[in-house]
């Protein structure tokens, strides 16, 4: 968004950038080899719902896609609303590549319908010594780690370590003030 637009008081949501999403699949190999961090068979995409019948149609299309694709691959999905009113599509599938492909497809459907700006992020769960979430920001097209410790605290030390060890393979959000936590994710 341009400086002039904001001076004139125009607001537009930044467009979704799904292009770097697949980077997580190759990074997963390094994560497993060097940090013993395995994909945990779960991922989710977080969407801000809108009040509009056209958006409802787009959402229905997403659900249709999920019904068909989950039948094919034998994985599961669920749609949930969190306490902040955001919608989560939670996917369960042992294969990380399938998970990434499904999330990419969901984002594609929304982008084609003009609702790319409503996608907040995608989350991939990994398991090692502790549960690690890799969050993909659709606004920046970048990943960042999130290791919750419970009680609104996060393991920053581990997050920095993860960042340092994977930086070369995974496009990481460099500005750490954008590493927004997501407490109480349904995943």
């Amino acid at each position: 968004m341009g400086f002039l637009d904001s001076l004139l008081g125009k607001t537009e949501l930044p467009k979704a950038r799904p292009d770097k999403l697949f980077a997580i699949t190759t990074a997963a190999i390094t994560l497993q080899a060097s940090l013993d961090l395995k994909p945990d068979g779960a991922a989710a995409i977080c969407i801000k719902p809108m009040e509009s019948s056209h958006y409802d149609a787009a959402r229905a299309e997403v659900e249709d896609f999920l019904k068909i694709s989950t039948k094919e691959c034998g994985c599961q999905y669920s749609i949930q609303k969190d306490e902040y009113g955001y919608m989560w599509v939670v996917l369960k599938d042992p294969d990380l590549e399938d998970l990434v492909a499904s999330i990419q497809m969901i984002s594609q459907v929304l982008i084609e319908q003009g609702y790319g700006g409503q996608i907040l992020c995608a989350v991939f769960r990994f398991r090692g010594e502790s549960t690690v979430y890799w969050i993909y920001s659709f606004k920046q097209g970048l990943f960042y780690p999130f290791v919750p410790l419970g009680d609104q605290k996060r393991n920053n030390a581990l997050e920095f370590r993860l960042k340092a060890s994977i930086e070369k393979e995974l496009p990481i959000e460099k500005e750490m003030e954008r590493w927004y936590p997501l407490w109480g994710m349904p995943i």
């Binding site: 607001t11 700006g117 954008r178």
Partner: protein, 278 residues
């Protein structure tokens, strides 16, 4: 609030007039104006927070508030502002700070109590749009320009020569200054109302749900209590006795207020809602 602004301005003006009357040179006066604006620009956040009795709150103190703001900032790709709370039962919220990095968004405890999560989110998105649109900067510059305009009128027309120091002169000077001041005051109000509409629109786009801002506005303004709960058949008879219908905002008040009337804001939001559905 309005009266305070007006009186503050008038005082500031009176000081300027005195300065000029005693033939302070152009430079001193410019330094005075510049200094005043500088203070207002750089310390606005602290001044506003202090005058409102707001206290910055950490993530552990207000986790829900922080999370809501974080997500909105992530949605709209904005740096996260600091968050403050005011201990007041009047539901209200405001944003301050000269730029996005120094911004503070504050809410009152009354607002937190009275609004539900989605209404609170809508109000926060409105304040975040003010931050995004750099409204504090825009309005500071606008008031600086109006001060400058006022100053030029004063200086060029009345002090073109050496300066007259007779009694009728100062009255005339004061009247002319006042006229410029009133005109710019009204213009700045109009600008401010425009920024309010823009912030409402931003909130609707960021949250995707204009109706939540509508209900928040209704709750904050007390409009909701104006929706009657008595049965129509019961009040029909009594209505004839009311000479003056419930007072609605007069046009003079609208001209002066910094915020547009709630009815107009709600109507604008309803139009946005239709746009989003189209």
């Amino acid at each position: 609030m309005l009266l305070t602004f007006f009186l503050l301005g008038a005082l500031y003006l009176a000081f300027l007039v005195v300065l000029l009357y005693f033939q302070a040179d152009l430079l001193t006066t410019l330094i005075f104006i510049g200094g005043f604006m500088f203070l207002q620009y750089f310390y606005s956040d602290r001044m506003v927070l202090w005058s409102m009795g707001a206290r910055l709150v950490s993530e552990s103190e207000a986790p829900n508030l922080h999370e809501t703001v974080s997500r909105l900032c992530a949605m709209a790709d904005l740096p996260k502002p600091r968050i403050a709370m005011v201990n007041s039962s009047i539901p209200n919220a405001f944003a301050t700070g000269r730029n996005q990095r120094n911004a503070v968004v504050a809410v009152t405890s009354g607002l937190m109590r009275q609004l539900n999560q989605s209404e609170l989110e809508a109000v926060l998105a409105h304040e975040l749009t003010h931050v995004k649109n750099r409204d504090a900067m825009v309005l500071t510059i606008a008031s600086f320009l109006s001060t400058l305009a006022f100053f030029l009128v004063r200086y060029l027309f009345f002090f073109g020569g050496g300066g007259k120091r007779d009694r009728s002169g100062i009255v005339l000077v004061w009247l002319a200054s006042m006229a410029v001041y009133v005109a710019s005051f009204l213009l700045i109000r109009a600008l401010s109302r425009y920024r309010e509409f823009a912030a409402d629109r931003g909130s609707a786009i960021i949250t995707g749900q204009p109706s939540h801002l509508v209900s928040a506005l209704m709750k904050i303004s007390g409009t909701i209590s104006r929706i009657p709960s008595e049965d129509l058949r019961k009040v029909e008879g009594a209505n004839a006795f009311f000479i003056i219908p419930a007072a609605s905002g007069s046009s003079l008040f609208n001209l002066l207020s910094t915020h547009p009337p709630v009815e107009q804001r709600i109507a604008a939001l309803e139009r946005i809602e239709k746009e989003l559905s189209a």
